[in-house]
């Protein structure tokens, strides 16, 4: 059952991601991107990380995509210049990379033997204390310094963005 759901959402994520690359119109790309993020969030739920799934929807599908769509609308890009010029070198590289990565995928997929450690955070712990409680407990103890550093980074990024885009 879980595997069926996983395959459905996996196929959905692959399709929507491919549509982001293939769509001619930039705003269509952005909208496919939102769909891709939402179906990826469903996969996170299947991996017993509902908190990350919610963050994925709020931060990625909400905040970041809002940024991108605003930028597209502000810059008023109607169509990607669909000039059918000569095939560029980077296009050949890109398709070659796709082929190489897919071949690598098969090599890995057939030789993979993943052994897992058995850490303390089992599903029973999640059931007993709740996902967010367990998550935040370690976030505010072991990972406190990275957490605070990231907040400084975000502040610096926002100030930097304002300074960059300011009309002088």
């Amino acid at each position: 059952m879980e595997q069926t759901v996983m395959i459905i959402f996996g196929a959905l994520t692959i399709t929507t991601s491919a549509m982001v690359v293939c769509a001619r119109n930039t705003i269509h790309s952005a909208l496919w991107m939102v769909a891709s993020f939402v179906s990826m969030a469903c996969i996170f739920v299947l991996l017993h990380a509902p908190f990350l799934a919610i963050l994925q929807i709020i931060v990625y599908a909400g905040a970041i995509m809002m940024f991108i769509i605003y930028a597209i609308m502000m810059l008023n890009i109607r169509e990607e210049d669909a000039t059918r010029g000569p095939v560029r070198k980077s296009k050949i590289f890109g398709i070659g990379l796709l082929i190489v990565l897919t071949l690598l995928l098969f090599v890995i997929g057939f030789n993979m033997s993943m052994t897992a450690l058995k850490g303390p955070i089992t599903l029973q712990v999640f059931e007993q204390f709740g996902n967010v409680a367990v998550f935040s407990r370690y976030l505010f103890t072991d990972y406190l310094l990275p957490f605070e550093t990231v907040s400084v980074l975000l502040t610096a990024a926002v100030v930097g963005a304002v300074v960059l885009a300011k009309r002088d």
């Binding site: 990826m40 796709l98 450690l117 955070i121």
Partner: protein, 101 residues
């Protein structure tokens, strides 16, 4: 039959390949940016899978920080795009040759 976790890793690999190919083939800066986000998202999926596999939360925290860094990157990146568009009047990567050797 492939085991459960391998399936997630393979999915992450496919999505990463799509993102990488898109970042190399497309011309529009914003689409390239979105392809980079797709690659980040594929890595997030792999990290969550590893975190679940090892019954530890370390991977999940990495995902959290990747999301924060992606948000910062989006803010700064889009400001740079707006500057580029103001300066050159286009978002085609082929037209930006200032730092091309």
């Amino acid at each position: 039959m492939i085991a459960q976790y391998e399936l997630y890793i393979i999915l992450s690999f496919i999505i990463f390949a799509i993102g990488a190919a898109g970042a190399l083939t497309r011309r529009n800066v914003i689409v390239i940016f979105m392809c980079i986000e797709i690659m980040l998202n594929a890595v997030n999926l792999a990290l969550v899978t590893f975190s679940r596999m090892n019954q530890s939360l370390d991977g999940a925290y990495m995902v959290l920080f990747i999301m924060a860094v992606a948000a910062a990157e989006a803010a700064v990146g889009l400001a740079i795009f707006i500057l580029l568009f103001r300066k050159h009047g286009t978002l085609d990567v082929e037209k930006f040759s200032l730092m091309k050797w």
